[in-house]
């Protein structure tokens, strides 16, 4: 329901008494309200929805879970060597 895109906070400022910031999404900069992530710092990634930062992305968690998947793939726990058989649907 809710399109929310990850980006990096590159600027923090005050606008009309609200904590606002600029978020860089692959070179496109968008304005975002940072009131709901008050502890966010420049350089951190957040996820933007309707002009609001929803959450600071937990980079450590992300890296760890990806590493876990990739180790499992490498260990052969998954069979990725063949193309997927055509689905019945």
């Amino acid at each position: 329901m809710c399109l929310a895109i990850p980006g990096k906070v590159i600027e923090i400022r005050d606008e009309n008494g609200l904590k606002m910031g600029t978020v860089d999404i692959s070179g496109t900069l968008t304005k975002a309200c940072l009131e709901y992530v008050p502890e966010i710092a420049i350089g951190q990634y957040t996820i933007v929805h309707a002009g609001f930062a929803l959450k600071i992305i937990d980079e450590e968690e992300a890296a760890e879970s990806l590493k876990l998947w990739d180790e499992l793939i490498k260990s052969g726990a998954f069979d990725t060597g063949h193309d997927l058989p055509p689905s019945s649907r």
């Binding site: 600029t22 692959s26 070179g27 304005k31």
Partner: protein
């Protein structure tokens, strides 16, 4: 004592209703803004029509009207679009574009300096594309009746004998070639539009492609079809081609080049780059045997450096464009509905 009427102001800073009324101010506008930039042997005649000799082959004739907000955007302005767009519409038919007309609808109050910048860009673009603006017209409407400036350009070109490029020529087995990244123009305009809180480095790709097309046709005269994917983007153009030729088109999602910042903006706005307008890109449908030769010619041109093969024409699903995802699944690439809207969900 000497009585004198106040002299009318001739040196205006902005467009006035009288600039379109055909009197002295109209002449003034022509002399001050249009002629210094556009002057050529045809316009110098000051006749009501341009006359030129026909060349051998077929005559190609095209028209398009340009309305864009904002009129200045990163990478170009409405004037460049108006020239490049009509040049490209002629060129993708296999024609050598030659002569253009330019019709202006100006909104009262448009700064003359902005008009001059636009006219200068048109002159430069025409020079680069090797075409001449041979006739023109200007009307002024009251404030609020148009958005700053609308431009119509029509163009004439000549198709050499032996060239037959048409949207009805697609054959199963043909290769689908794209000249470079998609979505640049539409996203450049969308992210500069007032009111939306964006800023981006995205630049419009507006460019005349007739030079590159000439080079391609010189090497491979048997190109089946060419189109410039403007409004509605690659999705609309390929759907039109598929249905005109009653064939299917199959695309490889991972092969379609999209600039990182265009992707970012597209993700943020929830818009598919395939449906976003381009103003300096072309799609070519060529026999598979010629594909590599065409790619080599295109990559040697500044507007085709990133040319790639993005798919093929197939017998199955006539009239339909199908995308193969990187995951091995497939989806229909639908004809876009209309205006692309930013969405939150």
């Amino acid at each position: 004592m000497q009585l004198s009427c106040p002299a009318p102001i001739l040196q205006h800073e902005t467009v006035q209703m009288a600039h379109g009324a055909g009197g002295r101010l109209s002449q003034e506008l022509t002399a001050r803004i249009f002629m210094p930039h556009l002057q050529n042997a045809f316009l110098d005649q000051l006749d009501d029509q341009a006359r030129f000799d026909a060349e051998p082959g077929q005559i190609a004739f095209s028209t398009d009207t340009y309305v864009v907000s904002p009129i200045f955007f990163p990478g170009g302005n409405i004037g460049e679009l108006a020239i490049n767009g009509t040049v490209n519409d002629l060129a993708v038919g296999g024609a050598v574009p030659r002569y253009l007309s330019a019709g202006f609808v100006l909104e009262e109050g448009l700064p003359l300096a902005e008009l001059e910048t636009i006219v200068r860009s048109m002159a430069e673009s025409a020079r680069k594309a090797g075409v001449m603006i041979v006739c023109g017209d200007t009307k002024v409407v009251q404030k609020g009746q148009c958005d700053k400036i609308f431009i119509n350009t029509s163009g004439v070109g000549f198709i050499p004998d032996g060239i037959n490029v048409s949207c009805r020529n697609l054959k199963p087995g043909d290769a689908v070639i794209l000249s470079g990244t998609i979505g640049d123009h539409g996203m450049a305009v969308m992210t500069t539009r007032e009111g939306l809180s964006f800023q981006s480095r995205i630049k419009s790709d507006t460019a005349a492609l007739n030079g590159m097309i000439r080079d391609v046709l010189d090497v491979v005269p048997g190109v089946h079809a060419m189109r410039d994917p403007t409004r509605g983007g690659v999705a609309a153009t390929l759907n039109e081609l598929a249905s005109s030729s009653s064939v299917g088109i199959e695309l490889e999602e991972s092969a379609i080049p999209v600039r990182e910042e265009v992707r970012g903006a597209a993700e943020l706005l929830g818009i598919d780059p395939l449906t976003v307008a381009n103003e300096g890109k072309m799609l070519l449908i060529v026999p598979e045997a010629d594909a590599e030769a065409v790619l080599a010619v295109m990559r040697a041109n500044e507007h085709g450096r990133e040319a790639v093969r993005i798919g093929k024409v197939v017998e199955e699903h006539p009239g339909m464009v199908v995308m193969r995802t990187p995951f091995g699944s497939r989806r229909i690439v639908e004809m876009p509905l209309g205006e692309q809207l930013p969405r939150i969900c």
